[in-house]
Every structure is written in C-alpha cells, then in structure tokens.
C-alpha cells in the first residue's frame, strides 16, 4: 500500500531542497535570524517527509540508525572541544578565541548596519554547525526509535 506516484516524485524532488535550505539557515546563523537549533529542526523535517511519502521499510534500506547516533555524539563532542580549546589557551571557558584575529572566521566588523560578511564572528559558525548536526541526529533518532517501537512499524 503505497502513496500515489505524484507524492513519491514530489518527495524525491523536495528532499534535497529542504536539506540545502536547512544548511543555509545553520551556516548563516550569525548574519540572519536562525542558527543551529532552527536549522537542525528544518533538516529533520526532510527526513519526516521521506517517512510520510514512503514506508518505514524503504527508509530502513536507505538510512541506517548508527549514522544518526554517531552524528549526534559527534556534534556534541565538537561543541565541547571548541569550548575547551579556549581554556587551554589561557582564557576562560567558552571564550571566543577566533574573533577579531586574522585567520579563519576572524575578520573584524565595524559598528553599524552592514550587508553581512560570512567570514566573521569567530567560534560562532563552528558552534552553529556542531549544534545543527547534533539536533538533526537527535530528532532523527527519536523519530526512528518511536517508529520502531510501535508494533508493526508502519503508519
């Protein structure tokens, strides 16, 4: 018992667009409204769309559960390591040790409205990406466990 051909074709077409949109919200978190948590929730919505259009067995063929568990743990680990490096450099915990230097993400910004440059804001884009990966993994793991726990696993 499948959904109709239109629904399946539209899910195939919309899924990459949702992924790109979610990653855009995550990476531009320091310039536009958004950030790690909001973008991770949007990406998890893409996986929910795939579950609604296809059945749970097809979803188990495409994605393994271990990949999402690893992604979630990796995201939290990257977040904590970025905060601990500041402790190793002599400053306090969670100090922004990459802002206003010259290297990666380190361009200084003058006060006032500006069109928004991506190369600024120090450790904030790295923390955004870490939290985005963690929220995507967490939402997908919760979804998969609950679907597996219901007897039968479909609908």
């Amino acid at each position: 018992m499948n959904m109709s051909k239109i629904v399946r074709a539209a899910a195939h077409l919309l899924f990459p667009a949702i992924l790109v949109y979610g990653f855009y919200i995550v990476v531009h978190g320091h310039l536009t409204p958004g950030g790690g948590f909001q973008g991770g929730a949007v990406i998890a919505t893409g996986f929910v769309l795939l579950y609604v259009a296809f059945s749970y067995q097809r979803l188990q063929e495409w994605f393994r559960l271990d990949a999402f568990k690893n992604a979630e743990a990796l995201g939290l680990l990257l977040f904590i390591v970025t905060a601990l490096v500041a402790l190793g450099l002599g400053a306090t915990f969670f100090y922004n040790w990459m802002a206003n230097t010259g290297g990666l993400f380190g361009t200084p910004v003058p006060f006032g409205p500006n069109p928004g440059y991506l190369n600024t804001a120090g450790t904030i884009p790295i923390m955004n990406i870490a939290v985005g990966v963690e929220v995507l993994g967490a939402m997908s793991v919760i979804l998969f466990y609950m679907l597996r726990g219901i007897k039968g696993g479909d609908e």
Partner: protein
C-alpha cells in the same frame, strides 16, 4: 494602543492548557494540554522584551531605530528545546503504558498488580 493584548493572549493560552489537563481523562490529550501551556509561556517571554517601535536586534541591513531586547529571546529558544525533550519522553512513556494496560485512559490504570 495595543492594550496589553499579547499578555492577555499568553494568559488565555496558559489557562486553556491547564483546563485541558484538569478536565480530560485521555493521556494523549493531557500531553497536548501541556504543550499548549508551554506555548503560552514562550509567548509571554518574547512579549516581555518588546520596546515601542523597535526592530529585530540584527545589524544586517537594519534601519536606524531602537532595537528590542535580545536576552529574553535567547531564553525562549532554550525553553522551546526543553519542551521538545519533555514531550518526546512523555510520549514514549504513553506508548509503554498503552502496551502494558491495553488502554490509554487514566481510569483504567488504577490496579496495582502484585
């Protein structure tokens, strides 16, 4: 001019949520009522930081007016994520209780099995 409408709306949402928790016997409906209470709390938090005639606190292509306060918006973000975690755990407990007792009604779970 706004007559405190966001605060009254947040109070009404909290009241409706508490009424659902008190008056319904199905477990899933009680969880929905808790979700409505959390929505009311988030609305109250965001509305308490508004400054008259303010714009969002983002400097990308912004105008020249006063900005609203950003700290309460950070608190609301944290509160939303905590609401997700609470609701996920509550729903999985409801699945286990349904599998054990055969019903999701509060009155059918009064037995203590020895």
């Amino acid at each position: 001019m706004y007559l405190n409408l966001p605060f009254i709306g947040a109070g009404l949402l909290m009241l409706i949520g508490i009424a659902i928790i008190l008056m319904r016997k199905n477990l899933v409906k009680m969880i929905m009522g808790l979700s409505i209470v959390e929505a009311g709390v988030n609305l109250f938090l965001v509305a308490s930081g508004y400054v008259d005639g303010g714009i969002p606190p983002i400097f990308t292509a912004a105008g020249d007016t006063v900005m609203v306060y950003p700290t309460v918006q950070a608190m609301t973000l944290t509160n939303i994520v905590i609401g997700i975690a609470t609701t996920a755990l509550l729903l999985s407990f409801v699945i286990i209780v349904y599998r054990r007792y055969g019903t999701a009604d509060v009155d059918g779970m009064r037995r203590l099995r020895g």
